[in-house]
Amino acid sequence: MSDFKTPPPLPPVTGPGSPQDVPPLPGSLPIDPATLPDAIREELEAPDPVAIDTAAAELSDGLNRCPKCGSTDIRHKLGTDLLVCLYCRNEWDGARVEELFGFGEGIDQLKGTVIASGARDIAADAAVLMTFKCTGCGAEVTVNTESAMTARCHWCRHVFGVNEQVANGAVPDAVLPFHIKKDDAVARIRQFVDKRRLFALKEFKEQFTPENVVGVYLPYMIVDGNASADVAGKGEIKTREYTRGTDNNKKTYYDADVYQLQRHVDFTVDDLPLESSTERGNLDVRVNTNNIINTILPFDTKNAVKWNASYLSGFTSEKRNSNVEHLHPRLEDQLLSIARAQVQASVRRYDRGVRWEQEKLDVHGTRWVSMYLPVWLYSYHQPGAKGGMLHYIAVNGRTGETMGSVPVQQWKLLLAALTVGTILETIAIAILAGSS
């Protein structure tokens, strides 16, 4: 009987069920919901979050000077990539970096490592705090680039933003402004959790306040690459299938031809996003839920605009702390994975599968652009050993794609599993008893 008391061990971080595994297709579940009890089935079959368009923006004031009237009261017009002046209603567009700097062009001609200015190495001794002298009143205003790119003067309410690409790596090349509004993000998070209430941790449900979602600009490196890859291994083709043995002891046997294979592919990738915060880039699901934030990629990075701190008014941000060199191994890993996906179609005729044994990558050229991408984050800290676990529900600030980690009430989940297991076992015993 199924009488285990402890939950089954967590799968290893590199094996099935970890972000190292190729993720399942959206909406797919390894179990047929029709076989489950009603309450569980209804929860699983409830519709996924859909786009909700609500018009409400509560952004704090901006900075910079309006090109028409010179006012500093500027804000990002939510839902668009426009900046708007609150005095004269002048609206202007941030220049798309794609055209401005020719990103996206000539990827197949890339040679060496091209680094945009905002993606340069971070100066090790650069200070996180930057001080500005207010032109309005002469006071000193400090901006902490670790978590914010704008700050307000306490005395005259002028707002300052970090717009210079100083050596501390805080200012990226480009920013992709929020399009999804806060109300929309709240609604999506609520829907996501409503679909996962049955086994959710009681404390999580009690404290669930999606209005506490925060808009955060997270740092990424957007990479174009020009590469070639080679893979080699063995493939098998089935030549015969037959059974041996008598009635109840039949076994199926196969004959197969074994082939030595090798494949070569030349390819380019356009706008591959890599987390450039070391903490966010750590996708170990045993210690954090950063894979949730990773899952809401990709973004429409082609629409990113030239850096302007006004876009960040009212949002927090996280500073980049990885340089191009640190990220190279991860880029190579992903390029190899892409190459392996590319060659798969060319080995279709090996119907017993292929075992790739060796792989080789030549990176001819790469181009790195540092970018801030918009994410709505709801977080819940689950207490526990080793500091517990921080669970995120993340909403892509452009596409609205929503993913989350909801802490589970272990005993409830175990009870449900044991109940279903017991029912199955009872049926199995009944069948055996009836057939003997």
């Binding site: 190292q20 595994d21 098998e236 074994v258 494949r263 380019t268 356009d270 060659v343 792989e359 297991g421």
Partner: protein
């Protein structure tokens, strides 16, 4: 019935319970999700070459395995021995 006739059915309970536990756990925690960059990145590839030199090196008779040992054709993220210019 033969000696092992249907005894495997007894595994239904534990197997079913474990499968349900993990399916629900992942549905809540989504530990298996990540960005599918292999398919969601804009990739332009020249035609894959090498198929013309596939060579038969062995034959297998009477195996009960339905797939090749160590099949990793769909496991794009499982790294295998890396060949570098220095070592080849």
């Amino acid at each position: 019935m033969s000696d092992d006739g249907g005894l495997w059915l007894l595994a239904a309970g534990p197997v079913g319970a474990t499968a349900l536990y993990w399916a629900l756990y992942r549905y809540y925690r989504n530990t298996d999700k990540s960005h599918g960059f292999e398919h969601e990145t804009k990739v332009e590839a020249k035609p894959v070459t090498g198929a013309e030199s596939d060579t038969k090196v062995d034959t297998i008779e009477g195996t009960q395995q339905t797939r090749i040992d160590g099949d990793n054709v769909g496991a794009y993220r499982a790294r295998v021995q890396r060949i570098t210019d220095e070592s080849s």
